[in-house]
């Protein structure tokens, strides 16, 4: 039987041990398995252990994979750009223009609150809005702009960008808001005092000092959109497939786990590169406020 003294002495290890075990079991081991599989061969109906780069070669040589990868990068970039263009002015308004602090809190919470609602539900909502039986169509018909329901809103890349922007924009607003809030009000006053217009002050002082927030927000929305599976599935349509969907089908209907694993590894490398790049960017541009 273990004594109390034993527990006292080893409490730290036990507390740390469980999460470490968890990480090994459910993160490191699966990564290892994934990496191993990516070198295997597919011999119908089985996968045969091997060490060869055929799967990676397929990904590089078969244009359909490159196409999906590029499309995914494009969608992620568009989502990040759209989020930035919407989130920055909003955050700027909240921090610098809105004097009423209660109102500021309410508006900030309005952006954050959807995060507490199921992601699936939020994506599904856009299907209801954009669909042929949807709100947008009935609205346009009621004001007489169109005569019959249009299918152009749903099942395309625009619908995906719209949906993903809606879903991930809080991740853009939060870091930008935080970055802007850290800038002392005396900075813009000093800039005005030294003769700069509001716009020049924004370009020379506010924007550079908020770049860490922009980079953090861009990284998050980009990586989250890049790996998204639901939006293409719900609103993407036939040419809206993204990498995650292709990967899922490799593990599912196509029954080609080695290829799917290789795709997963490529995705992982891309996301990790983006994160390191943004990290480097943030470190190099770091200033003390």
């Amino acid at each position: 039987m273990m004594s109390q003294a034993f527990f006292a002495r080893h409490a730290g290890k036990l507390v740390l041990g469980i999460p470490i075990l968890w990480i090994i079991l459910f993160m490191l081991v699966p990564y290892g398995v994934l990496l191993t599989y990516s070198f295997w061969l597919k011999k119908y109906p089985l996968f045969v252990p091997a060490f060869q780069f055929g799967n990676y070669w397929t990904l590089l040589s078969d244009p359909q994979y490159i196409k999906v990868l590029l499309r995914t990068l494009k969608i992620a970039a568009l989502v990040s750009a759209a989020s930035l263009l919407l989130a920055y002015p909003f955050a700027y308004y909240l921090v610098f223009r809105l004097k009423n602090t209660t109102m500021r809190l309410i508006l900030f919470m309005a952006v954050i609150a959807p995060l507490w609602i199921s992601y699936l539900l939020r994506a599904y909502v856009w299907k209801t809005i954009l669909g042929t039986e949807g709100i947008l169509n009935s609205f346009l018909m009621s004001i007489g702009m169109i005569d019959e329901p249009s299918g152009i809103f749903l099942y395309n890349q625009f619908a995906m960008v719209l949906t993903l922007t809606y879903i991930f924009i809080p991740f853009m607003v939060m870091p930008i808001y935080t970055a802007l809030e850290k800038i002392p009000p005396s900075f813009s006053e000093a800039s005005a005092d030294l003769g700069m217009s509001d716009f020049q002050t924004f370009l020379k002082v506010t924007l550079p000092l908020s770049m860490p927030g922009v980079v953090a927000g861009f990284t998050m929305t980009f990586c989250l959109s890049f790996g998204d599976f639901i939006a293409p599935f719900l609103v993407g349509g036939p040419d809206g497939q993204m990498v995650a969907n292709v990967m899922a089908s490799q593990f599912g209907s196509a029954l080609n786990w080695p290829l799917g694993s290789a795709l997963a590894v490529v995705m992982l490398i891309i996301v990790l590169s983006i994160i390191s790049l943004s990290d480097w960017f943030e470190q190099s541009g770091k200033v003390e406020l």
């Binding site: 900075f187 006053e189 000093a190 005092d193 003769g195 700069m196």
Partner: protein, 362 residues
């Protein structure tokens, strides 16, 4: 219109709170003016209005004859040194200083030259390529000063410029700022809550009280002739005592304090009979035992001695329990044993000129 800055009937309301209450003020060209008062007295608001960061609710502001009340900070030929210095952390020291020159149409080479000259003036000639976060607090303060003066404004505004520095550095910078003022010859308007700072640096001090000007005068004037107990209390230390006027003879006023009589010769005599008097602790002295003078003395008993290094503060209890503090410089070689013992009866000599007379408040 004579002054470089003229404030006419300025008021500022924050909702229902009155921040500035009908202030008129004229600032002479080239003067070092200080707005002095506790926090919330309106001194910073007044300074920010001159800089263009706050709009007055009523009244007008003139800068060398031109009405600038509605002009934004960009259009005013004044510059401000901010309390937190507001140096841009992503720019070098040189870029910070040259920042305001571009908008004045100064060329690049010229701007560099001017930035160097400004850094030279504040004693940091070799820091032009450093970043602000590499600088100490005192150096940042100098850089902020250089950035504000490099545009050669008509008036330099200083918002609590020394409050972030430690005591030693502050004393050094007080003198240095004054020298820079003399060298530049432009008008300085400073805000501070530190009365010593105000006395040391200023040509003229405006003491503010709840949005109004309590007194306006030279440092000596404020120290030697305070108008109200508020001013006497805020600037220096004062022994306050209730007193009664027994006879008036021009500016000579006969007083009765705790059953003792005293003569005052002060230029402001209240109309009421019951008044408040003030005497600076260093403007009274304990008379020698041999002294036989009978005029203008107060008698009391020594209650306590407190050693202040260069001076000794003696607390004397008058009848009625009124406490009277006396600060005496300790001359060379004087030991504490030489001073009167606790409980001893002493006579305090007071010159009639050193008795302030105030109206008794509430």
């Amino acid at each position: 219109m004579s002054g470089i800055i003229e404030l006419r009937n300025i008021s500022k309301h924050f909702g229902s709170v009155i921040g500035i209450d009908h202030v008129d003020l004229s600032v002479e060209d080239g003067e070092f003016l200080t707005l002095l008062g506790p926090s919330g007295c309106g001194k910073s608001t007044l300074l920010r209005m001159i800089g263009g960061f706050e709009e007055p609710t009523t009244g007008s502001i003139f800068l060398s004859g031109q009405d600038v009340t509605d002009l934004p900070p960009q259009k005013r030929d004044v510059n401000m040194m901010f309390q937190d210095y507001a140096l841009f952390p992503h720019m070098t020291v040189g870029q910070n200083i040259a920042y305001g020159l571009k908008m004045k149409g100064v060329g690049k080479a010229d701007a560099l030259q001017k930035a160097k000259a400004a850094l030279e003036l504040v004693g940091l000639p070799d820091k032009i390529d450093q970043m602000p976060h590499q600088m100490s607090g005192g150096q940042r303060q100098r850089i902020a000063l250089a950035r504000a003066i490099v545009r050669e404004p008509k008036v330099l505004l200083l918002d609590e410029p020394l409050s972030a520095l430690d005591a030693n550095l502050r004393e050094q910078m007080q003198v240095e700022l004054k020298h820079i003022h003399d060298k530049l010859g432009i008008t300085f308007i400073m805000v501070t809550h530190d009365q010593r700072e105000a006395l040391v640096m200023s040509d003229r001090v405006i003491v503010m009280e709840r949005g109004r000007i309590a007194q306006d005068g030279s440092p000596q004037d404020l120290y030697e002739h305070p108008k109200t107990t508020y001013v006497a209390n805020f600037i220096g230390t004062t022994n306050f005592m209730p007193a009664r006027i027994t006879a008036r003879n021009g500016i000579e006023t006969h007083l009765e304090i705790a059953g003792q009589s005293l003569l005052a010769r002060y230029d402001r005599v209240p109309d009421t009979e019951n008044i408040q008097i003030g005497i600076r602790p260093e403007k009274a002295h304990i008379l020698d035992a041999e002294s036989t003078t009978k005029s203008n003395v107060l008698v009391g008993r020594v209650a306590e001695h407190i050693y202040h290094g260069s001076s000794l503060r003696t607390t004397i209890k008058l009848t009625d329990g009124i406490e009277f503090h006396i600060d005496a410089m300790l001359p060379l070689g004087m030991a504490r044993a030489d001073v009167s013992g606790i409980g001893a009866e002493v006579r305090i000599g007071i010159e009639p000129e050193n008795v302030f007379l105030f109206e008794r408040e509430g």
